[in-house]
Subunit: 235 residues, 2 copies
Amino acid sequence: MREALVAAAFELFLERGFEQTTIDDIVSLAGVGRRSFFRYFPAKEDVVFPDHERGLAEMTEFLESGSGEEDPVRHACDAARLVLRMYAEQPSFSVQRYRLTRKVPGLRAYELSVVWRYEHTLAHYLRGRFAGRPDGPLRADVVAAAVVSAHNHALRTWLRSGGESDWVTEVDRAMAFVTDTWGERPAGGDQAADGDGPEEQDDVVVLVASRRAPLWRMVQGIESALGDPRRVHQD
Amino acid sequence: MREALVAAAFELFLERGFEQTTIDDIVSLAGVGRRSFFRYFPAKEDVVFPDHERGLAEMTEFLESGSGEEDPVRHACDAARLVLRMYAEQPSFSVQRYRLTRKVPGLRAYELSVVWRYEHTLAHYLRGRFAGRPDGPLRADVVAAAVVSAHNHALRTWLRSGGESDWVTEVDRAMAFVTDTWGERPAGGDQAADGDGPEEQDDVVVLVASRRAPLWRMVQGIESALGDPRRVHQD
């Protein structure tokens, strides 16, 4: 029944557009009553993104589960992984929806509002964690946008493969880009454990220091970074 | 006439919602004919974002005007500045629209699609410029999202001030966050010329090097950065 409703809805959205399709049209094509529709979906858009509210709730719960000591950027990336896992759990539905949203402008607009709510949720968490920084709100917004964009990049890559590629590899690579940029520690150690191309990631040392620091402090910093066993390159 | 149409449209969007308002409703409230509407606006959404197509065209033209030698991140930031300037040229209209989009969900959704097109345009340019990098497409998407997010942060700050704050200061600060993160050079020199808080910006040296580079090369890099007159801090 649920699948028949989804199939009917997708057919009509493609044919008439999202806004022009009513719930009556959908139940009529699926050959069921209106009440059956509402047993499965609270509203028309929930046929397309049935797990959106659950995904947001899970993300919020995960974000709030932090001790307050965790690296906020890494924690935000892990929250985004939950969403990608939700898509990956239903590959054929996700791929079908992806093809539909490319073709139906009204659905594309709805998808943007779905994405925006995830971004807003991440930004809210990051604003709390960055509250002590002068650039806190700006940093929170930009990092949240970067996490969402990296997530969407990984998701699209996986969807374009028809759900065939390894989504864990895709999301690891995308999130490593964000944590390498803003995470509290260079991410070499953890990434190697995640199985994500450690050669490429380990190849760079980044030193950030006050430019008024004496030169010996910077050299010490470099030596200490190079000596950190988490980052030693295994040739 | 144009202003009367905008006023009527804004009143109806607020009262009935964006989707529920027709062009007939708007012209009837404004007391003009349909033809007058289309003389000013190609479609209903253009009453709210009349300069969107022009803004996109300007951004695209600016992006394409690069020599191919320019710092791509900085060039993308400068393209985003054009959009903010377009808003800032009409402060009272921009502030009025901002208040409206907060209240009318259909308009908020339309605004997201406007923002998405800017982001898409920036990402397209950056993909071209990052084509030689293994992480090119991912980097392009994330940087484009960061530029748009920083732009929107500056825009919102200015709009919330009722268009009273100094938008140039807001956008300089937001874009400096992005160029400091990914720009080709630390941005101290240029930013000081822009009048953007040089104390904060000049305070950091970032060294990025192959971790297999000999220590003396890194020290040389630091010395050379510290000796760069563009970056010398004036106490």
